[in-house]
Amino acid sequence: MGIHKSTDGGRIRHGKPWWKRWSRDDTELFVLSLPTLLWFLIFTYLPMFGIIIAFKNYRLQPGGHGFIYNLLHSEWAGFGNFKYFFTSNSFTMLLRNTILYNIAFIIISASVAVGGALMLSSMRNKRGSKVYQTMMFLPYFMSWVVVSYFVYALLTPERGYINGIITALGGERIMWYQENKYWPFIIVFLNTWKGMGYGMVIYLASITGIDPSLYEAAVMDGATKAQQARHITLPAIKPVFVMMLILDCGKIFNSDFGLFFQVTGQLPASLYTTASTFDTYIYMAIQSTAPIGQTAAASFFQAICSCGTILLANWVVSKIDNENRII
């Protein structure tokens, strides 16, 4: 009884500041949220302070202190670490690879997903459509390590299925893991292949939510299938499309690490310039003895760019069509 009264009281006396209206309910909710709150602070906010590492020449200090002590007592590097990263041979290559792959991914995945969803929704045999969806969803649940085994089975030069077919047809074996000209296509293909079921299902869900009477009215007015798709279906899935687009734009400086690292076979030197992205670069730097400050600079650059692009994409969308912005 008492609890109820206090929340009600809070609502009536609205002029007071929030801490005066704080009720036992709020305390309980705060306690309930505490574990997750701590998780967010430790695993998402604490790393944001990692920015500092990028501005330091991290050195182990004498005396066997912890990481934070060493960090705070290391000298400042200014923008030195960033300068090193921007002027390194890899920088332009990484920037080009990461962005171009992502642009290809966005365009191709979105077209396949929207096109596939339109086709699935208009199929007559609903049961068949369900079976296809389930089968196409399978790759989404495979890890890249497992996918790299699939790819290995297909591409390994001496025994792989594809070279088997090529030699059976009288062709020359291709050393897949050493020829970088094929990999942009392989990578784009695999990305599409893995995400296809997921993308179609999302769009299909918003298509099935459309009021069927709209289509009935359109048919009465003599609209063709293509006109219906253009004037009813596509506008209806636009909000989802725009949201996915903004989120994808936010990821334009990121890459699916497993795709670039595992599937290429731990990124051999022969494929380095074709399949390196910021993520593989940072991962390899973490595993190597590269100074941590330089790695942090690369990592921080990537994070800032991601944040910038997602805000930019959202801003552009808000200018064109304020309804569909996500922030």
Binding site: I42, F43, T44, Y45, M123, S299
Partner: protein, 305 residues
């Protein structure tokens, strides 16, 4: 639903020929998605000698259970890895459900005074994060979780995305009146969350739980960063480790290894494919049943307020 299908079909049908073309297209796509699994399976049951002579064949020329026999003989390693995978998946999923639903419930309460602050707190990490290196430093240097099972569990335990799914679900499907009447009966928020809200929120728990479970089962990345101790290897990291060793040996022929050691350390191809099958089968058998929860989760997640 049935009505929609019916009226859609009678009025608005695609031509039979188009329907056939669509079916063929999707049949090809669907087979493309499933067939690599058959490749891998067929390699795993092919005789090693036959592989050496003919390369991989979709239909094995000589069958052999040697790979699975090998796994059985190495069952200590395999079972330990499988046990670790299951342990990480189960513990991780439980923690993940608890963290995500509790926060989701709290931010779904309209009267909560810190609601606005929390909404921002959850939103900001969606847009900005400290990057891979900073997360690595936090987990390994600050929390000191190297070679600990928690390094596999905690970093993946929660996400802004899942919290948002929970919040939307609670707000749209749990009636305020139930919560109000529980309060009148003297229940605290913890009891309301655990004994009233969660029992009627099984769909969202299934969604969050499935995302988490597949995420944990499939994770090899955290393991490759934080786990060096072979006792803590999961199936995925075992597979990853083998791949790494093979690349290493391929790049450094006889790098400090005698031919004998080399042979011993290299599991045969069929064995590696067999391990991949051990990982895939549980997923391939379960995901069709949980697919609907994924879809509902994805669609709830893409609804904005």
């Amino acid at each position: 639903m049935a009505k929609q299908d019916k009226s859609g079909q009678s009025l608005n049908q695609i031509k039979t020929s188009t329907n056939i073309v669509f079916n063929i297209v999707f049949l090809i796509l669907a087979v493309m998605c499933v067939i690599p699994l058959l490749f891998v399976f067929s390699i795993s049951i092919t005789d090693e000698e036959a592989i050496r002579q003919n390369g991989y064949q979709l239909i094995p020329q000589a069958l052999s259970g040697a790979a699975y026999e090998f796994l059985w003989n190495e069952r200590l390693t395999i079972l330990r890895a499988a046990f670790m995978s299951v342990l990480v998946t189960v513990v991780g999923t439980v923690i993940s459900i608890a963290l995500n639903t509790s926060m989701g419930y709290v931010v779904s309460r309209r009267n909560f005074k810190l609601k606005k602050l929390y909404t921002w707190l959850i939103f900001i990490p969606m847009v900005f994060n400290g990057g891979m290196l900073a997360s690595y430093v936090v987990v390994s240097n600050i929390l000191g979780l190297n070679n600990s099972i928690w390094a596999l569990i905690l970093p993946l335990a929660c996400s802004a995305f899942s919290v948002t799914i929970c919040r939307t679900f609670f707000r749209t499907t749990v009636p305020d009146s139930i919560i109000e009447s529980a309060k009148i009966d003297g229940a605290g928020q913890f009891r309301i969350w655990s004994q009233i809200v969660l029992p009627i929120s099984k769909p969202v728990m299934a969604t969050i739980g499935m995302f988490a479970a597949f995420g944990y089962w499939n994770d090899w990345f955290q393991a490759s960063l934080y786990i060096q101790d072979t006792k803590l290897q999961t199936l995925q990291s075992l597979l990853n480790q083998m791949q790494k060793n093979i690349e290493y040996i391929a790049n450094n022929p006889y790098g400090g290894l005698s031919m004998q050691e080399y042979k011993l350390s290299m599991p045969t191809e069929s064995v590696r494919m067999a391990i991949a099958i051990v990982i895939i089968v549980p997923i391939a058998c379960t995901y069709p049943f949980f697919q609907k929860y994924f879809i509902s989760g994805l669609t709830i997640g893409s609804v904005k307020e």
